[in-house]
Symmetry: C2
DNA sequence: CAATACATGGCAACCCGTTGCCGCGGTGGC
DNA sequence: GCCACCGCGGCAACGGGTTGCCATGTATTG
């Protein structure tokens, strides 16, 4: 059984170093926190003594007076959602570069849990990145009053935000589907509380207007594969040839659900997702999707947060917008020109009542 | 632009509460940290005053004397690896239940980064969970000397460990393949530095012995999809009918690689993975795999860590072993009985002289 | 050469709780 | 009626750095 108590001398402090280096504790302190404030030779000597004694500055004690812990909190909605992996990595790396440590908080899609965790962490961290927060605007503003905050994937007045260029992504997806001959796109909505969900739908409305493509919305559904499978059932009842899903997981669920019911993707229906998670590339068919720069999101949000912590104003004017791109894979194809092929229930149903309306 | 400075009175401290409640600061302190030590009416009064003033105990100041921060570090090898998502969730939840906050450290598969990050976090956390550490045994022991540590997925004398029952999982996989008529299993190895990799191979050797199945190993390959695709090429050159991959990502890569070369899974080759990541269920064909109780791993390791922090000895005798189970999907099938089908290079190569030499 | 400026280091207060120890008043035992 | 004990609260010393201010001693300037 390991022994976690240093045998005699406990922990090495600046006082120990001070005695050994024959200077006062304050000089030792300055040698580390303000090297310019002390003679370089003295500083060097102190550093050597500290090294020899194995001194490590105690971040807690330092934090007590400076109220800087060199830690930031990263709050994500659901760690099992692969979207966040890259975001976390980006944030983590930016934090490490700035000599900060990251406290990860998984809100588990719960407003309550998120608030409680943020509350608890708040006094310990120097700033917070809220990625896809489930909290209300006012709750976020509350937090932003007490600590520097950067919000990811959500625009919010008076709080610095980083968002992706979803309108452009949706537009590109719509163009792509239009070029394939689709004149009607069904948006499969995610959580209504999700900010990107609203943006994506409105962007599609707009794109449809300009491109002369009809659009409609179904949902909301849970933003998971299971949600997508439920959406597939509804899609089966009210067929479409082109579908834009709120995110990749739903898109994958939709494809699975449709396949199970005998509907072919992309033969009968084209499906486009959002985010470009890793799985988008390994499913069959490969998922056409709007790729968000996940790593860059985490990184940009964190870097901005760090500058705020260092005292920068925190541009709250307009959100920082990150570019997206459309990744075309195999889940989209030209609109099937021969409805005469043997998929009667599906093909016929589109155009009104018929005997085979609800065949498998 | 938000203002992060409380206008007049800075932060509320026990001293403010003490004045207002007309008691000494120590009484306020005790009212929160040792309620039994103070008259219940007094405590109640103090609590009300504190509430009114918006007092929050400062965890840093508390930590300074108690040297307990109520934080633990969770170190993972690679956050983009989906295996860790569930582990993190399990750990996170256990930590939250125990009123602890989690500091996540992503080592990015780098020994150096891991050591640096652990070094930095060490003085701030009460304990550390090392999930699939890339550090050397001695480095881990070093850390374990200074803080309570629980190691996940690795057995290490003198340090508490939580591992999965890989031998049993491998055994089950081998039995499954044996029942399907396979008399030869190829193990596709992951990183040699990975502790589970060694265990899995040795377990397969053993299981092969008992079940009278021949085994061989190829690799090592990187534990990623790309690594799996490279392995597929080698498998193509030296064919096999049954493959056990180090992990699911490699298994998925193998299936993709083989498919691209015209080899059918499971028709020509059965593939078994390890871990049962989410993607295992959504690829085509669905991946047969040894499911590790990922959530339980994170949870068990963390709970054990917390008991150690609370002063329990930390059973270092034998590792805690978590059960696994075989999840059978569609990537395994009976060994193809008709080598006469049109896949000459593949079928012939196996048996050298006679075409049917190794039929069941 | 006097006067001012600067570099350097020490002193002591401070950050905000925690805790060992002591004292005071009240209660119960004998 | 005396003493031991208990419940409760206060005092003061931490814990480990940080930092404003002052005291030197040396360098610069006029």
């Amino acid at each position: 059984m390991p022994d976690h108590t240093r045998p005699p001398g406990k922990r090495v402090t600046i006082y120990d170093v001070a005695v050994e280096a024959d200077v006062s504790p304050s000089t030792v302190s300055r040698a580390f926190s303000r090297p310019s404030r002390v003679n370089s030779e003295t500083a060097e000597r102190i550093r050597r003594v500290a090294e020899r004694l194995g001194y490590r500055t105690n971040p807690l004690a330092r934090a007590l007076t400076t109220s800087r812990t060199q830690m930031i909190a990263l709050v994500i909605a659901d760690i099992t959602n692969p979207v966040y992996a890259e975001i976390v990595r980006g944030a983590q790396e930016a934090a490490t570069d700035g000599e900060y440590t990251t406290v990860l908080i998984d809100a588990q899609e719960s407003d309550r849990l998120e608030r409680a965790a943020v509350e608890r962490a708040m006094s310990t961290v120097d700033g917070i990145v809220l990625a896809s927060s489930r909290m209300s605007d006012s709750a976020i503003r509350m937090v932003a009053k007490q600590r520097p905050v950067v919000v990811l994937n959500r625009a919010l007045a008076d709080v610095p935000c980083v968002v992706t260029d979803d309108p452009r992504g949706v537009r590109r997806a719509a163009e792509h589907l239009g070029e394939l001959g689709h004149d009607h796109i069904t948006y499969v909505a995610g959580p209504q509380a999700s900010w990107p969900n609203g943006i994506r739908w409105r962007s599609l409305l707009e794109a449809g207007m300009e491109l002369e493509i009809k659009v409609r919305q179904i949902g909301p559904f849970s933003p998971t594969m299971a949600g997508g499978e439920r959406a597939a059932q509804e899609l089966y009842a009210r067929p479409a040839t082109a579908v834009l899903a709120f995110n990749d997981q739903m898109a994958i669920g939709i494809i699975r659900g449709l396949s199970r019911m005998g509907v072919n993707v992309p033969g009968d229906v084209s499906v486009v997702g959002f985010d470009n998670i890793l799985a988008a590339d390994i499913v069959t068919p490969g998922l056409t999707t709007v790729a968000a720069p996940l790593y860059a999101e985490g990184s940009a949000a964190t870097r901005h947060l760090l500058t705020m912590i260092e005292g920068a104003p925190g541009h709250t004017g307009r959100p920082m917008v990150l570019p997206v791109r459309l990744v075309v894979r195999d889940s989209t194809a030209a609109r099937n020109p021969s409805p005469g092929r043997a998929r009667p229930s599906w093909a016929r149903q589109r155009s009104g009542p018929g005997p085979a309306a609800h065949l498998p």
